[in-house]
């Protein structure tokens, strides 16, 4: 054996030495040189895949090192050198891959290798072989003519580095872009350019476009798809609700789905190691696993997330009974629901009898949870609620979990339980207001509604029963439907016990008693002022008697309203003070508190009466003031009926503000600056009951303004409009003393004159004597002179009518004619002549109508000289005088025609009769009766009086005026 080994070694050495000698002579390969080198390209992975063999391996296997060189473009441009160490077996095809950073399509690659035996067992073989020949490799690019840019449509993860290359070919002006940005590539070899993107971000599902263009014409492009990194599933867990299916769920994280070869988002696989079963999950976040019928107890799940680039796994192992998540209880019912108890039943679905369940029951009312119970069940549950409140809505919540191992509770299920009603449990809080009137008691009862806690149901009505304590008779008065908080009763002045009960559908509450005595409502106590605070009123009182059941303090919450919302507070018998507070109390409102003591017989006696404000405010209005007794030096201010109780504080007094021209205020007043920057003198009245004020020391005939304001502890009422007063004149009273008697005297004289008017008339204006009644007649008769007789006026024909000038007012006189003159009423004088009255003492255009008959006789007597009017003068016809206007016009015309120098309008008609009427004073008869021609020598001639007698000034053309008209005007003799 040893000989054989020595022989073999010697043989090998001989062979090797022979080979060495031979190689020096002939370039023959050394043994163990890699042969049959085949190189393939995986463009997607950018891998060069090398395959080779080692021939004539002397042993079955050898540990060898292969030294590999990779060149790019040229064999001399070696870009990578490395060793690959492996155990080589005889006839084995060796494989090795190299990942290129640069896309393999961008360049031709050359690969060669040599081997070295690195086997300690055969140290004699430790030498390197020759290099294998360079193997040239080109990436397979079918569209080599058109494809310019590589890699094509590469998919990488976010944050990767990617190297691109492009072949500019013969196009020297090629430009490449990344989306919109121009890429400046680095020249790698001749027309091959490269650029590298580091830490690429995810931009869009459609990928990032890299393209090259010549003269803005796209020649080629590629898309870089950047995928988000696949995340490891989180919160992976499995559970069962029915021992039939395990439901596994997890949080998949971000979706890495991309539009790359229609690649979907990542997919998930569930693998259970004990059973060796595997399931592809349809959803990204949950997967259902069928539980085998033999109820495998333990499960070991591996969840694998996988996408195009990456694979991630998570694992969970659990006992099935520890992953029970029951469904919510159902078929929940309430049975035998009473006022204070009820029974609840329910069922647990789907779990069967595999496990015991623990159910949690909670009972809530409106405010909070009242009861909590835990119940163990299999399938059907039942629970009795007790100590419930009557007529109360409860919310019952129930959930269940596996009793042995609580994995997850079921969802809460909520139902409403309403208990039955019960009779009210508490007596009403009742109070009263008594108003005696006409021998009766008008009692207003008030009560506070029972709380829900005590009502035990819906209050339907209130019963009021009044007992006459004197007559011991019972009288059921009223049943008042709810909701009501009071009623009114009219009782006689006897003592009554009143019982009030609240009733619901089940029964009545305990009776609340109150006694109205005969004296109720008649109590009078003095008001006492108290000071309140914003927190309320502290009220204290003195006990009335030793034996008492308690106290009641009542007040009106809204004092100013007509309807008093009576409030009351019950106070214990041993308490003599309390604090009344209310949110309804407002500043500036007066509150009246009456404290009653309740006797043991439930009779209320008024103890004290207190008034106060929580906060006093200044008065809102001022008194209405009147100024009376105004004299020259003073006046009195008076205000009455000023409603001080309606004020917003206790009125402490008044301020009288007086404004005058005087700059200085009187000593008892102070100057006060008003809002309009004027000043007034302010007098203070500190007695609230004083409602009159005398303002003194004033100036006569002076103007004053005053204003009266009230004030409380919080201030005074706002200044309003000042009232104005003017003092009287100092001498006005003296004038009154003089003028009044004078007026009285004048009146007295006037009365006397009227009374003695007849006498005055007789004295001043005696009547014209009647010739028929004259004493001369008796004388004549006695002498019986046949020549002497009385001329009857009727027998006279008026001889003269004078028309005289009259200044004004004649027209009104015409109007005053009640009976217009008509032709028939006038006598028909044959001729009427207009005669100038030249024979009068005053020259002027006096015109008169002349009775010729009488005129002749008069002329004969020589007492008168008339100038006869020519016959040519137009006669005046009386018919022209039918109306006053015609009359006036006619006269005017006539006068103008005859005497053109007399101004028209200044002429009026004077009718003058020379004779007194024989009918004694019947002036009208002068016109009615025709004159009787009689001798006129015995009579004085009557004539129109020239106006010069009335008017002392008369011009040459001045008119003579007479007020004569139908005998109603002045007549001068």
């Amino acid at each position: 054996m040893a000989f054989f080994a020595v022989f073999r070694t010697a043989f090998l050495l001989a062979v090797l030495s022979w080979r060495t000698c031979q190689s020096e002579v002939l370039p023959e390969r050394l043994p163990l040189t890699p042969e049959s080198l085949h190189i393939s390209i995986n463009s997607t992975l950018q891998h060069l895949h090398l395959q080779w063999t080692v021939h004539k391996l002397p042993y079955q296997e050898l540990q060898m090192i292969f030294q590999i060189e990779i060149s790019r473009f040229e064999t001399s441009k070696v870009i990578w050198m490395g060793n690959y160490s492996t155990t080589v077996k005889r006839n084995q095809v060796l494989q090795w891959s190299w990942e290129s950073e640069l896309p393999l399509e961008c360049a031709t690659h050359f690969v060669r290798m040599k081997s070295t035996v690195d086997d300690a067992r055969f140290p004699e073989l430790s030498f390197s072989s020759n290099w294998s020949p360079w193997e040239e490799v080109h990436a397979h690019t079918p569209e080599q003519n058109t494809d310019l840019i590589f890699p094509r449509d590469k998919l990488v993860e976010e944050g990767s580095n990617v190297t691109f290359c492009y072949n500019s070919g013969i196009n020297q002006n090629i430009s490449c872009y990344l989306d919109r940005e121009l890429i400046h590539g680095e020249q790698l070899y001749l027309n091959i350019f490269t650029f590298k993107l580091n830490n690429v971000p995810f931009i869009r599902e459609g990928g990032t476009n890299i393209y090259c263009a010549v003269n803005y014409t796209i020649k080629d492009g590629t898309v870089l798809f950047v995928s988000k990194v696949l995340e490891e599933p989180k919160d992976f867990s499995c559970e069962t609700q029915d021992f039939k299916t395990l439901s596994c769920s997890w949080d998949p994280g971000v979706d890495t789905g991309l539009f790359f070869d229609g690649q979907p988002s990542q997919h998930y696989t569930l693998f259970e190691s004990f059973s060796g079963k595997k399931k592809f999950c349809e959803h990204n976040n949950q997967c259902n696993w069928e539980i085998s019928r033999d109820l495998q107890e333990t499960y070991n799940f591996t969840l694998t997330a996988e996408n195009y680039l990456r694979k991630r796994s998570v694992n969970t192992i659990f006992n099935l009974t520890h992953r029970v998540h029951p469904k919510a209880p159902d078929s929940i019912h309430f049975n035998n629901v009473g006022a204070t108890n009820a029974t609840m039943t329910w069922k647990m679905p789907a779990l069967g009898n595999y496990s015991t369940l623990l159910c949690q029951i909670e009972l809530h009312d409106k405010e909070n949870m009242r009861q909590e119970h835990n119940v163990s069940i299999k399938v059907n549950g039942e629970f009795l609620f007790s100590e419930l409140m009557p007529d109360t809505a409860y919310m019952v919540c129930i959930r269940c979990a596996n009793a042995k191992h609580v994995w997850k509770w079921s969802k809460w299920v909520t139902r409403t339980l309403i208990t039955a009603e019960a009779a009210p449990s508490k007596a009403l809080d009742v109070w009263r207001k008594v108003k005696p009137e006409k021998g009766l008691h008008h009692v207003t009862l008030f009560w506070k509604p029972l709380s829900k806690f005590h009502a035990n149901g819906k209050i339907l009505f209130y019963n009021i029963v009044a007992k006459d304590l004197d007559k011991k008779s019972e009288l059921k008065l009223q049943s008042i439907p709810a909701p009501a908080n009071g009623t009114e009763l009219t009782l006689d002045q006897g003592s009554y016990q009143i019982q009030v009960t609240a009733n619901n559908s089940v029964g009545a509450s305990p009776a609340s008693e109150i006694v109205i005595s005969g004296d109720s409502g008649n109590e009078e106590v003095e008001e006492q002022k108290i000071n309140g605070t914003k927190d309320g009123f502290l009220i204290s009182w003195k006990p009335l008697s030793e034996d008492r059941a308690g106290y009641v303090v009542d007040w009106c919450e809204h004092q100013r309203n007509l309807h008093c919302e009576l409030q009351w507070k019950n106070v214990g018998p041993n308490t003599t003070s309390t604090v009344i507070s209310s949110d309804a109390f407002r500043p500036g409102i007066r509150y009246n508190f009456r404290i009653y003591e309740l006797s043991t017989e439930k009779i209320a006696y008024l103890v004290e009466n207190k008034i106060g404000y929580t906060q006093e405010l200044a008065p809102s209005d001022s008194p209405q003031v009147k100024a009376i007794n105004v004299t020259s030096h003073s006046f009195t201010l008076s205000w009455k009926d000023y409603d001080t109780e309606a004020q917003r504080g206790f009125i402490q007094g008044y301020r009288v503000c007086l404004k005058s021209k005087a700059t200085q205020c009187h000593l008892d007043s102070v100057a006060e600056l008003l809002p309009d920057n004027s000043t007034c003198c302010e007098h203070a009245i500190n007695n609230p009951k004083q409602k009159i004020f005398l303002v003194e020391n004033l100036q006569p005939e002076s103007f004053y303004e005053f204003f009266v304001s009230s004030f409380t502890s919080a201030g005074k009422s706002p200044i309003g409009t000042f009232t104005k007063v003017t003092t009287q004149d100092e001498h006005s009273h003296m004038l009154m003393h003089i003028i009044l008697p004078m007026v009285l005297c004048v009146l007295l004289i006037a009365v006397m004159c009227y009374w003695k008017s007849q006498w005055v008339k007789e004295k001043c204006y005696p009547d014209i004597p009647d010739p028929y009644k004259s004493s001369i007649l008796s004388l004549i008769k006695s002498k019986e002179s046949p020549h002497l007789r009385i001329m009857n006026v009727k027998d006279c024909t008026p001889d003269t009518i004078e028309v005289v000038n009259k200044s004004e007012g004649t027209k009104t006189q015409f109007i005053g004619i009640e009976k217009p003159l008509t032709e028939s009423e006038f006598p028909k004088p044959a001729n009427l002549y207009l005669l100038p009255a030249q024979d009068f003492c005053v020259p002027g255009p006096c015109i008169s109508f002349v009775n010729h008959t009488y005129s002749e006789s008069a002329c004969d007597s020589g007492s008168c000289a008339h100038t006869p009017v020519p016959d040519t003068a137009p006669p005046c016809h009386l018919e022209l005088l039918a109306s006053p206007d015609n009359l006036l016009n006619t006269l005017e015309k006539t006068h103008t025609d005859s005497l053109g120098e007399i101004p028209a309008g200044k002429i009026s008609l004077n009718y003058v009769s020379q004779l007194a009427s024989p009918m004694s004073g019947d002036k009208d008869s002068l016109l009615i009766h025709s004159p009787v021609p009689v001798l006129c020598s015995e009579y004085k001639m009557q004539m129109a009086v020239p106006s010069c007698l009335d008017s002392p000034v008369l011009s040459e053309n001045g008119s003579l005026s007479s007020m004569t008209l139908l005998g109603q005007d002045k007549h001068y003799h």
Binding site: D179, R180, R204, E205, G207, N209, I218, G221, T222, V223
Partner: protein, 225 residues
């Protein structure tokens, strides 16, 4: 309006004129088959609606493709889109088309475009995009049916689909994603051009199908009143 003394006579005269011409108004004179007019109008309206719908869809899809496809002046070479039916045609040639040929070209074009669009829908990455594409395909299917209806009303036979020419857009080894995007771009562009052309085609057809009597218009001058 101020009515003068003779206005009422003018109104009466106009009313009489209207009544006199009423029998000549086709809308009032029809007794039976309404003819292809309404279906042409409906097809025209559907074309305009699809134009509007495509405007929205193309905006979304081109943004999904990314720059430079969503740039306004982008005009890539057609390359793989050469198989798409071209809508552009010489004006004189378009004018010389008879109704049958005009309708046939429309029908064939939309048949092809619809197949391409369905392929596009299969590749869309987002659910929103798939939904929009599916909606548009349904509308385009409706347009195709409407054109078929017009052709049937006019008595033209529907063109028979050539066997074996079912275009698919599955990317092969010769097809890169970038080139696919260019084809998608051309598909949307060609579709838009076809809708423009169809609107003109159907408008021309519509006018052609209207009888001359339908053009009676009554001029009621306000002044005459």
């Amino acid at each position: 309006m101020d009515l003068r003394a003779g206005d009422s006579w003018g109104m009466l005269a106009c009313l009489c004129t209207v009544l006199w011409h009423l029998p000549a108004v086709p809308a009032l004179n029809r007794t039976g088959d309404p003819g292809p007019g309404p279906s042409i109008q409906k097809t025209y309206d559907l074309t305009r609606y699809l134009e509007h719908q495509l405007r929205s869809l193309a905006g979304t899809y081109l943004n999904y493709l990314g720059p430079p496809f969503n740039e306004p002046d982008f005009n890539p070479p057609r390359l793989g889109a050469e198989t798409l039916p071209r809508a552009t045609v010489n004006l004189e040639v378009w004018r010389s088309l008879n109704d049958k040929l005009r309708l046939t070209q429309n029908y064939e074009a939309y048949s092809h475009l619809l197949c391409y669009l369905r392929g596009l829908n299969r590749q869309a990455a987002t659910a929103e995009l798939r939904h929009s594409l599916a909606h548009f395909c349904t509308s385009l299917q409706g347009l195709l049916g409407s054109i078929a209806g017009v052709m049937a009303a006019l008595g033209y036979p529907l063109p028979q689909p050539l066997p074996g020419i079912e275009p698919t857009w599955a990317p092969g080894p010769a097809h890169s994603d970038f080139l696919q995007k260019m084809d998608d771009f051309w598909l949307l562009k060609e579709l838009q051009t076809w809708l423009w052309r169809s609107a003109k085609d159907f408008n021309r057809l519509k006018k052609k199908m209207q009888p001359p009597a339908a053009a009676v218009t009554l001029h009621l001058e306000a002044h005459g009143f």
